[in-house]
């Protein structure tokens, strides 16, 4: 029996989504993805290091054509940043699957759901009312 699930037009067999933040290095991260059988990894979006652009990149180790990259909005504390980040992610990756979260505070990284909803609404409309998120 094959058990699959689909999102954004992509079908997966594994339900495990592996992170990419806490590994010793890219090799270890890639090995963990392979060993787990995960088909999705969450990734962050950051500025390219223009002073050392030849530094190793995640995409050199985990092939985006085989493993689905799920760009997240780690580090975004408001909807404007989150939407801006995901729009860039969409352009960098060329696909529409993203993970939206807006952090409530820096210590626990616990999400702020009211702002998540505001961001989602802004995303659907194609614009974000930066001052209207908590006006519900």
């Amino acid at each position: 029996m094959t058990d699959t699930w689909s999102v954004a037009g992509r079908t997966f067999t594994s339900r495990l989504i592996v992170g990419t933040g806490k590994y010793k290095d890219f090799e270890q991260n890639a090995a963990a993805v392979a060993a787990s059988g995960a088909e999705i990894v969450t990734v962050a979006v950051r500025r390219v290091n223009v002073s050392d652009p030849t530094a190793p990149m995640l995409t050199d180790y985990i092939d985006p054509s085989k493993i689905t990259y799920l760009p997240n909005t780690a580090g975004c504390f408001n909807a404007d940043d989150a939407i801006r980040t995901l729009r860039l992610a969409r352009e960098a990756g060329g696909w529409d699957l993203v993970k939206l979260e807006v952090l409530g505070e820096a210590k626990t990284l616990y999400p702020e759901h009211a702002r998540d909803i505001g961001s989602d609404r802004g995303a659907r409309q194609g614009r974000v009312p930066a001052d209207g998120l908590l006006r519900r």
Binding site: T20, R46, L58, T73, L88, A92
Partner: protein, 88 residues
Amino acid sequence: MRRYALPLYGLLGKRQSKAETAVISIMLNGEQRQVRESIADLVASLGLDVKKVAVERNREIMARSTLVDIALAEGDALEIVHFVGGGC
């Protein structure tokens, strides 16, 4: 402002039209840079694969297909981003 490149064209006997690609000053990922290229050439000169990055110019995302055609203007603020490990 560094302008030494312009007289050099005269010495080398290059046509005057070359001066149109004058050096301009932009902000690239928060750092000031002197450039004279299109965005696509700038990305390439940084050793980056244009297919793996996204470019924002003055907070507006540039479609990848248009990067070749876009000349930078003095004072432009560019952000070049890519995917990195992080988040959960």
